[in-house]
């Protein structure tokens, strides 16, 4: 009798813990989403409401005025979308190709210079010249200032991604590649016909990390881009947020007709909303990649 009683007691207790965990996760999950809700609802609020009641979590009066205001003259945001898309597509594609080729060479145990080359590649993870020499070299040696290449080239090769790909390539069944070699396939054909199709998971993961890196970047533009036509999305947003702040600080320039706070937030939504949702859809590939990277 006592056994049954204690069993039920344990079951209730474990159910209680489970509920507690669920409540905790619901709260923490909400805390992760809440800040973005603030941006979203501010963008749909009336400017006067924000001035009177502050930034809301739920708009008092719904309006799409801020969006209409931006989309009336959408050239700036469209151009920035164009720059960011171009940079992301070109940078991720070339970067992924170069990194996977390098990683394949480094993963071949019969490659004579594997050790030296690995050291050459991975030493850059341990040591670098720092910002100033790099900046001077890129602007005055390579003359990349105000060029679209400045937004692409510096991120092409990420040693950490090379490491991830090399680990995966090294695990591919050697017999399979050898049988292709016996059939007379060269290394290039083996790479493109066998290695690439067999390695879609790590290639997808690294590709997504590259896309995220390029899409969210404002750092390269902050350093190298003055030309408004070449502003990528995040950097354009950054300049708008800082300029709007400068305007808000000075009441003389704050025309009652320009909705600053709401437009700023609407710009943030337009600039990152679609991409953030897209990343949410592919997040399981990220999770897979992190898992593989974590356990190696």
């Amino acid at each position: 009798m006592r056994d049954i009683y204690s069993n039920r007691f344990y079951r209730i207790r474990s159910q209680l813990t489970q509920t507690c965990i669920h409540v905790l996760f619901a709260l923490v999950g909400l805390a992760c989403i809440l800040p973005l809700l603030l941006i979203l609802s501010s963008s749909f609020s009336e400017e006067a409401d924000i001035a009177r009641y502050g930034y809301p979590l739920v708009p008092r009066h719904w309006t799409t005025f801020a969006y209409e205001y931006i989309l009336k003259v959408p050239s700036q945001i469209l151009r920035s979308y164009g720059v960011t898309t171009f940079v992301t597509v070109v940078g991720s594609a070339i970067g992924l190709l170069l990194m996977s080729l390098l990683a394949y060479a480094l993963s071949r145990s019969r490659f004579k210079y594997r050790k030296q080359l690995s050291f050459y590649v991975f030493f850059t993870m341990l040591f670098n010249g720092g910002l100033i020499p790099w900046y001077i070299w890129v602007t005055q040696g390579l003359h990349l200032k105000d060029k679209v290449e400045a937004l692409i080239l510096p991120y092409l090769i990420v040693p950490w991604f090379v490491l991830l790909l090399r680990t995966y390539f090294a695990q591919l069944p050697e017999e399979l590649l050898d049988s292709a070699r016996v059939d007379g396939a060269g290394e290039w054909r083996i790479f493109f016909q066998f290695v690439v199709p067999l390695s879609t998971p790590p290639l997808a993961t690294v590709g997504l990390f590259c896309i995220l890196m390029y899409w969210n970047d404002w750092w390269l533009a902050l350093l190298f881009i003055n030309e408004p036509k070449l502003q990528p999305l995040q950097y354009m947003l950054y300049t708008i947020l800082t300029n709007a702040r400068a305007m808000a600080a000075n009441p003389m320039t704050t025309g009652m007709s320009t909705p600053i706070a709401t437009v700023r937030m609407a710009m943030a939504v337009l600039a990152t909303g679609p991409a953030a949702l897209a990343f949410l859809l592919v997040q399981r590939y990220f999770i897979k990649g992190i898992t593989v990277g974590a356990l190696k």
């Binding site: 474990s14 489970q18 965990i21 669920h22 996760f25 923490v28 999950g29 992760c32 800040p35 973005l36 941006i39 502050g54 930034y55 809301p56 990194m99 080729l101 390098l102 060479a105 004579k112 210079y113 080359l117 590649v121 991975f122 030493f123 850059t124 993870m125 341990l126 040591f127 670098n128 010249g129 720092g130 910002l131 100033i132 020499p133 900046y135 001077i136 040696g141 080239l153 092409l156 090769i157 090379v162 490491l163 290394e187 290039w188 969210n216 404002w218 750092w219 995040q234 950054y238 947020l241 937030m265 943030a268 990152t272 953030a276 949410l280 999770i287 898992t291 974590a294 356990l295 190696k296």
Partner: protein, 334 residues
């Protein structure tokens, strides 16, 4: 007999001829071996070449620029033309209050981040494991991971929405509860906890996935055996999961300590909105170097700070990796 003596030189000649032939054939085999070796290695070398050239241009060439730290750098004179000044940049740098401040802030804040991220993400991973069969678990994971995809420009925008003096959500709440408004953007003391929170918000999703993966990799037989013995979820977490996660934890912490001299520029530059009043707690080596480069234009001191960061950072990475290699050779960088 005669024939024999006659044939001796002939034999000798034949022998030398054979030896000579063997020697030349040896030479030709080494040559052909070398050619075969080249033939085998050439495709791999060509494959690695473009990336290797990139690494040369974007990583190795700038390393020579470290000599700027010992020069009085002038834009018009360039890197080689500028005058050598020995250690002057360093004596200037370390005479300022800023040197101590940026070193302390970088180390202290990164230390704080390492500890808080470890504790929170481990807790999340352990709790997640308790409910990971539940359909809602994936939703929680998505919500926690979502901030990872948000750029610091956006983070800065909503932090401003929370903390701005007049319209900020936090001050509005404080006022409605009868408290005074707080001047968030001009009080440096608030920013250690704020930045720690923001860093947690952005990173916990990622790190809890890392530790959750570590937990899933644990042999389920341990848990089955523990259940047979009547161990509760907490006991399992405490006596099975945590001890088995120790290697993963130690390695991740060591690798973070190796990077402790490098701060997350976006976090320290974007989130406090580059407010001069907050530098006392938000100025780190990376932001100091950037501002010296872009606003004050003091290349000398900035490159001295960069040199200092590169060398100390290198020693830390080296040290932490030596320890990591002892624990798990697969995880170390070299």
């Amino acid at each position: 007999m005669l024939e024999l003596t006659k044939s001796q030189p002939a034999q000798a000649e034949a022998r030398t001829r054979r030896e000579r032939f063997r020697a030349t054939s040896d030479r030709s085999t080494t040559r052909s071996r070398r050619r075969r070796e080249l033939q085998q290695n050439l495709p791999w070398m060509l494959m690695a070449a473009p990336a290797a050239v990139w690494i040369l241009i974007f990583s190795y060439v700038p390393m020579f620029g470290l000599i700027i730290a010992f020069k009085d750098y002038r834009n018009n004179l360039g890197m080689w033309g500028s005058e050598w000044v020995g250690l002057r940049n360093f004596t200037y740098l370390f005479a300022t209050k800023a040197a101590r401040e940026i070193t302390f802030n970088t180390l202290f804040m990164n230390g704080l981040f390492i500890i808080t991220t470890l504790i929170v993400s481990l807790t999340v991973a352990l709790l997640m494991y308790q409910i990971h069969h539940h359909p809602l678990a994936r939703l929680y994971q998505s919500a926690l991971f979502f901030p990872y995809f948000i750029s610091y420009v956006i983070v800065s925008a909503f932090v401003f929405g929370f903390l701005s003096t007049d319209a900020g959500l936090v001050n509005r709440m404080l006022v409605s509860w009868g408290f005074e408004k707080l001047q968030w953007y001009s009080t440096p003391e608030y920013w250690r906890p704020i930045l720690t929170l923001v860093n947690l918000w952005k990173g916990v999703g990622f790190w809890s996935i890392v530790y959750f993966a570590g937990i899933l990799a644990i042999n389920p037989e341990y848990y089955e055996a523990a259940k047979v013995d009547g161990a509760t979820g907490w006991q399992q977490a405490l006596y099975i999961t945590l001890p088995l996660l120790v290697p993963l934890i130690v390695i991740n912490v060591l690798l973070s300590i190796g990077r402790i001299f490098y701060a997350d520029f976006g976090l320290f530059y974007q989130v406090p909105r580059d407010q001069g009043l907050l530098y006392a707690t938000t100025n780190v080596i990376d932001t100091y170097v950037f501002r010296a480069l872009r606003t004050t234009g003091d290349i000398g001191m900035a490159s001295a700070a960069g040199f200092y960061q590169a060398i100390v950072g290198f020693l830390l990475v080296l040290g932490s990796n030596l320890i990591v290699r002892r624990i798990d050779p697969d995880k170390s960088l070299f």
